[in-house]
């Protein structure tokens, strides 16, 4: 594993006054599944187009194995692309779509046939090889697009929201399939999505983009547990962001003051003062008042105002003073109902805080992996 497989160095791209990408820098490791995650319009497709060679950045360099490829023609890159909407050639059959990259490279016809069969088998689409793209279901189209992009054994596979056109059930199947495929072919995947669930489920690493800037790079677990910015804290999964003050006690232990309560933290913060305290809804323990409760020390009294059932879990909104918290319960025999008084206890290991100014230095978030708990 070489750490300098694909290097993206301070890429900027503007469309008129709009800054689609601002100083984006990123290293892609050979063989990894890297996801570009961000809301619509955050610049994901633009970055992908620059990697594919469809667009040139205004500034910055893209390097492959140390070689500058920023202005290299797409056909000279050997990158497979699965674009948004799949981009299958409507006038060619499934077989011919998959054979396209091999034909334009003038491979021998025997080797074309063998290779096309191989990828069709890999993606289980042999039975539709004579159909035209419009005669395929969405899931089949996606497989054909994947097969076509993989048929010439690219150095890198770029995928732009390949699941967005599929229904939820199919999406889950294809996610598992994509992970299998990645493991099987060993190609580096750069995958674009706006779906945080998908990013968490698929990726080795996630790059969170917002307004053309990188908000955070990290493993799904570290980004989930230690968001670098308030945007990331809110964008990945549900979260409670509380206006609190960090303080270091006499024994060097960190605690927070929030809403008149003192909350002990299991973490060491790099600063004192006002901050955004984050606590995941599933990291709060809720007990009804009157029941014997554990963790009596730092518990907080609240009132249930709402309860939403999701099947495997339920979300409870609890008012504490003038603020409210979301608590996720996985299994509750007798769930609390609105009006109930409840005790809340925070899992100290899973508290996280962001400085008020929302400019935590990258070093601070990168040098605390022990907090992943």
């Amino acid at each position: 594993m070489s750490s300098s497989f694909l290097t993206i160095d301070s890429i900027c791209k503007r469309y008129g006054l709009l800054r689609a990408l601002e100083a984006v820098s990123l290293d892609v490791t050979q063989g990894e599944f890297l996801t570009l995650l961000g809301p619509s319009g955050s610049g994901k497709s633009t970055l992908l187009a620059i990697l594919a060679g469809f667009a040139e950045p205004d500034q910055g360099i893209v390097r492959l194995n140390g070689r500058d490829i920023t202005r290299l023609a797409p056909e000279a890159r050997r990158f497979g692309v699965v674009p948004q909407g799949y981009g299958l050639f409507p006038h060619l059959t499934v077989y011919e779509n998959i054979a396209f990259p091999l034909r334009v490279r003038r491979s021998r016809s025997a080797s074309i046939n063998g290779r096309v069969r191989q990828v069709m088998e890999l993606l289980q689409i042999g039975s539709v090889k004579s159909r035209l793209p419009r005669e395929l279901s969405g899931g089949q189209q996606q497989r054909v697009a994947l097969a076509r992009a993989l048929s010439f054994e690219p150095d890198l596979l770029l995928l732009d929201e390949p699941m967005s056109a599929l229904d939820a059930l199919l999406r889950r199947d294809l996610q598992a399939e994509l992970v299998r495929l990645h493991r099987q072919v060993g190609t580096t995947f750069v995958y674009v999505t706006h779906d945080q669930q998908e990013a968490l489920a698929l990726s080795d690493r996630i790059v969170v983009l917002n307004h053309g800037r990188i908000e955070q790079i990290g493993t799904p677990r570290s980004i989930y547990a230690q968001p670098a910015t308030r945007f990331v804290a809110n964008f990945l999964g549900k979260n409670n962001l509380l206006q609190a003050t960090a303080a270091i006690g006499p024994l060097g232990r960190l605690h927070f003051h929030w809403n008149g309560h003192r909350i002990a933290a299991g973490v060491t913060a790099p600063f004192e003062g006002p901050c955004s305290l984050t606590i995941r809804p599933e990291a709060i323990v809720l007990t009804k008042v009157g029941h014997s409760s554990q963790g009596t020390k730092d518990r907080i009294l609240g009132t249930v105002v709402n309860h939403t059932f999701h099947g495997a879990s339920a979300d409870v909104i609890v008012a504490v003073g003038h603020e409210s918290l979301t608590v996720t319960l996985t299994a509750a025999a007798s769930p609390p109902v609105p009006g109930d008084e409840v005790w809340l206890a925070f899992d100290a290991e899973r508290l996280w805080c962001l400085p008020e100014a929302d400019t935590i230095s990258p070093a601070a978030s990168a040098t605390s992996p022990e907090l992943a708990a």
Binding site: A52, G53, F54, A73, P74, E75, R77, R78, F79, G80, V81, P83, G85, G87, L88, F89, P90, H91, F100, P101, R103, V104, R105, L132, P133, R134, Q141, R148, A149, F152
Partner: protein, 298 residues
């Protein structure tokens, strides 16, 4: 073939505007439809029927006219010339039309509007005016010749009109919009990311064009070829004016038989044959014009 669709079209048109309840069995819609059908019969079907009938009746009843047409050397020459000029015209029109349509889809929105206006504007100018303009430009004493002579590129004026060159030029000019528009309509339907994508899969710009863009634009090309072929077979004014009597095509030849040599037998027989050929082409290929219902892109 024409009548039922005309009635249907009339219904649709009338139905869109007049939602009036039927009065004594006949609605306003029906009246409009019947009226337009009568106009069609009076203006097109009756005269055409008369031409067809005459071809079998004068000078003597029978199919003798057809027999002698097939043996007539002058007719052979005129038909040969017509086919040659038409193919040349269609070929050139498609080539120029394809290039212009390609420029149109590549252009930015403002440039595209200006270019489209440039394509459509000549349709508003009478073909007569355009032909005189070509004559003024290209005749031996015309503007082009005098400029070429002044710049020393020519010693003697060359004939640019009153020959096949002038005819082809005038016809290509006339038919270009009819080629550009269907080709452009088809090109605009092509997913513009596909050529890029083809390149990321390893195709050179040339391969991307030949293997992806060209086949996807083919329905537009076919529609344009059909339209221009039909039109060029029956071209009358432009060959008559720019051909100067030396390049005589079928339509002009027929007109000469009617107005000068008074050979109604040849005129009606040739007209009937031309009608048959054009009708057969329309019958066989009119589906090419149904761009609106062409395969949706996937």
């Amino acid at each position: 073939m024409i009548l039922p669709s005309a009635i249907a079209l009339g219904r649709e048109f009338a139905g869109a505007r007049f939602q009036i309840a039927p009065v004594r069995g006949l609605s306003v819609q029906d009246g409009l439809v019947i009226g337009s059908v009568l106009v069609l019969i009076a203006c097109y079907l009756l005269p055409l029927g008369a031409v067809v009938a005459l071809s079998f009746l004068v000078p003597v009843p029978g199919i003798g006219n057809y027999w002698s047409i097939f043996q007539n050397a002058t007719v052979h020459a005129v038909v040969g010339k017509t086919l040659w000029i038409s193919s040349l015209t269609v070929g050139l029109t498609l080539l120029l039309g394809y290039i212009t349509a390609y420029a149109l889809v590549q252009a930015g929105p403002v440039a595209r509007k200006l270019m489209l206006a440039g394509v459509l504007l000549p349709l508003w100018i009478s073909v007569l005016v355009r032909n005189y303009a070509w004559i003024a430009l290209l005749s031996p004493g015309g503007i082009v010749n005098s400029i070429l002579i002044r710049w020393g590129w020519l010693d003697q004026p060359v004939s640019l009109v009153r020959n096949s060159f002038g005819v082809v030029l005038g016809m290509v000019h006339y038919m270009l919009p009819y080629a550009i528009l269907p080709i452009y309509a088809q090109m605009a339907r092509i997913d513009s990311t596909l050529p890029h994508l083809a390149r990321s899969l390893g195709a050179s710009p040339r391969q991307a064009f030949i293997r992806v863009f060209l086949p996807l634009s083919r329905p537009g090309l076919a529609a344009a070829a059909f339209l221009t072929s039909i039109m060029s077979l029956g071209f009358y004014l432009t060959p008559a004016m720019l051909g100067g009597g030396k390049t005589v095509m079928v339509a002009e030849f027929i007109s000469i038989q009617v107005t000068e040599t008074l050979r109604w037998d040849i005129a009606t027989t040739l007209s009937t044959l031309l009608l048959l050929v054009t009708g057969a082409l329309v019958w066989r290929f009119s589906h090419l014009l149904e761009l609106a219902t062409a395969k949706p892109k996937t």
